[in-house]
């Protein structure tokens, strides 16, 4: 039988069903299917006379309660962040110390240039990235627990009204949350959103979520320039990212991606106790991407940085005469209105395109200082004030997502157009915001 004949038969069957039952054929079939099922169940299934409240229903009575729902949601988010950032500190210190020791050891390798490549370039660069393995993996553990326990669906349920208002979907919430760990799993998690416009919008604004890779930039600059208000400045970076994401999502849904939002017909699964194996598997599935990035992209990036800083041959390492100095000088004037028009700043931002965590590593390389001293060097050698540091942080927060995140957008959208669009519009937003911060801030300082 040919495909046309099959289609013709199908059309005849649909027409026949509709002429007999008067309704939609889908409906008629579904009715008949569920009619059959319920008839069968009547014969074979005995139900207890009074339906008792299941444990899941009891938990739901509290968790999505009218008054408690939002406080519980915010409390859980707070717990997640406490869990991630408090618990990761000792691990980060150990990893940092280990790579410090290793680099000191490798610096003795001769000839000198090889020692410098291994110690400054490879160990320094890759080490500064691996330091972020603990918080990122802990975040993935937390998210897996929320997911496996059944709370994620409730989070979407609780947040949908709000997300719907800004043109997104309750399910957009989960990718946004994941984005705090790393934008790549965040972008990939957009697959769970059915409606194409909801999905694309969520992907386009996901890079504004302050990912773990950007943390080192903020941790370092905040410690150096805002020692009194570390918590509040860090918190405002997160909030700024969220607000910009909301604003852009709203704009996209009103302009480029106009249209109805997808439906919110979703099962709320019963609560379950997450298993350790399940949680660890999920953590590994998501986290291994970060490790692969450290082993491939970032390793390549640090070698490129080292090379650009050492060329032309014989030049002083990462000085203004090196290639990286020239590139930085070329772009520096662009940032005049934002306050950081030094070649070191623009050069490090260019490297940040490879991976955000490289920004600080690149600066460390250019000034040939340990990261701990970098804050002081920026203040004394470049004359950075807290305002300039803030403007630089705002730019680093918002500008072009790292090359791996863009790769994820490309593979998820299957479109170079949207990928390039993301790179361009985020950088434009970053420039406008950092100029705004610096110019408005200058009026008050």
């Amino acid at each position: 039988m040919s495909s046309e004949e099959i289609l013709k038969l199908r059309q005849e069957a649909v027409a026949k069903l509709q002429s007999i039952y008067g309704g939609d054929a889908d409906m008629v079939i579904a009715d008949a299917r569920y009619g059959f099922i319920s008839g069968l169940l009547k014969d074979v299934l005995k139900k207890p006379p009074v339906e008792r409240l299941s444990l899941s229903d009891k938990i739901d009575k509290i968790i999505v309660n009218r008054w408690l729902g939002i406080p519980i949601f915010l409390g859980l988010m707070y717990l997640v962040f406490q869990f991630v950032f408090t618990l990761s500190v000792p691990f980060m210190d150990w990893i940092d110390a280990f790579f410090g020791w290793l680099a000191g050891y490798a610096a003795n390798i001769s000839p000198d240039w090889l020692g410098s490549l291994v110690a400054d370039g490879i160990i320094g660069g890759v080490g500064s990235v691996l330091v972020f393995v603990p918080p990122i993996f802990l975040l993935f553990i937390a998210i897996s627990i929320l997911e496996d326990s059944g709370y994620m669906a409730r989070a979407a349920f609780v947040m949908d009204r709000l997300m719907h208002k800004i043109g997104l979907h309750g399910r957009s919430f989960i990718p946004m949350l994941l984005g705090f760990g790393c934008n790549i799993p965040g972008i990939m998690a957009c697959r769970t959103i059915d409606n194409p416009k909801d999905r694309l919008t969520t992907m386009l604004v996901n890079p504004f979520m302050l990912c773990g890779a950007r943390l080192p930039i903020f941790i370092l600059l905040i410690a150096a320039f805002f020692p009194e208000n570390q918590g509040i400045v860090m918190f405002s970076m997160y909030i700024l990212g969220i607000l910009i994401a909301i604003l852009m999502a709203w704009i996209f849904r009103k302009t480029l991606l106009k249209g109805e939002s997808g439906h919110f017909v979703m099962e709320l699964p019963p609560y379950r106790l997450p298993t350790i194996v399940g949680v660890l598997t999920h953590m590994w599935e998501r986290g291994k991407m970060f490790l692969q990035k450290a082993g491939t992209l970032i390793l390549a990036a640090v070698i490129v940085i080292w090379f650009l800083s050492s060329m032309p041959w014989g030049v002083e390492y990462a000085s203004a005469d090196s290639w990286i100095g020239h590139i930085g000088n070329f772009f520096a004037p662009v940032f005049a209105w934002a306050g950081f028009d030094q070649w070191q700043a623009s050069a490090s931002l260019i490297f940040g395109f490879l991976a955000k965590e490289v920004v600080i590593g690149a600066m460390g390389t250019m000034f040939a200082v340990e990261e701990g001293l970098l804050g002081n060097v920026l203040a004394t050698q470049l004359g950075w004030t807290p305002l300039i540091a803030l403007s630089f942080m705002v730019f680093s927060l918002l500008y072009v997502p790292c090359v791996a995140a863009l790769g994820a957008i490309r593979s998820e959208t299957k479109s170079w157009k949207w990928t390039i669009f993301t790179a361009v519009y985020t950088t434009a937003v970053a420039w406008v915001m950092s100029v705004l911060v610096f110019q408005v801030g200058s009026l008050f300082v």
Binding site: M27, Y34, I70, A153, F157, D160, F264, V265, E267
Partner: protein
């Protein structure tokens, strides 16, 4: 017995679906999940921000927006 839109049900109220109207993508999804004519349905509650709602149908819990529930006409028991 009174007919109501599903979104108008009060918490704990039960009913039987009489008919479903509304746009096709929601409609399809509802059919797939077993929300069909004749099903017993119970209102479980409303999300803290007032939307969406949670219902119980065929022994499991389902959430949907009020605008989507408005297309489901229920005969209240």
């Amino acid at each position: 017995m009174a007919e109501k839109q599903l979104n108008e049900l009060k918490k704990g109220e039960k009913g039987k679906i009489v008919r479903i109207t509304g746009n096709s993508s929601v409609f399809r999804r509802l059919l797939d999940l077993g929300v069909v004519k004749g099903s017993e349905i119970e209102m479980k509650g409303v999300a803290p921000l007032g939307d969406p709602i949670e219902i119980k149908i065929k022994g499991y819990n389902l959430s949907l927006r009020k605008s989507e529930a408005a297309g489901i006409i229920v005969e209240v028991q």
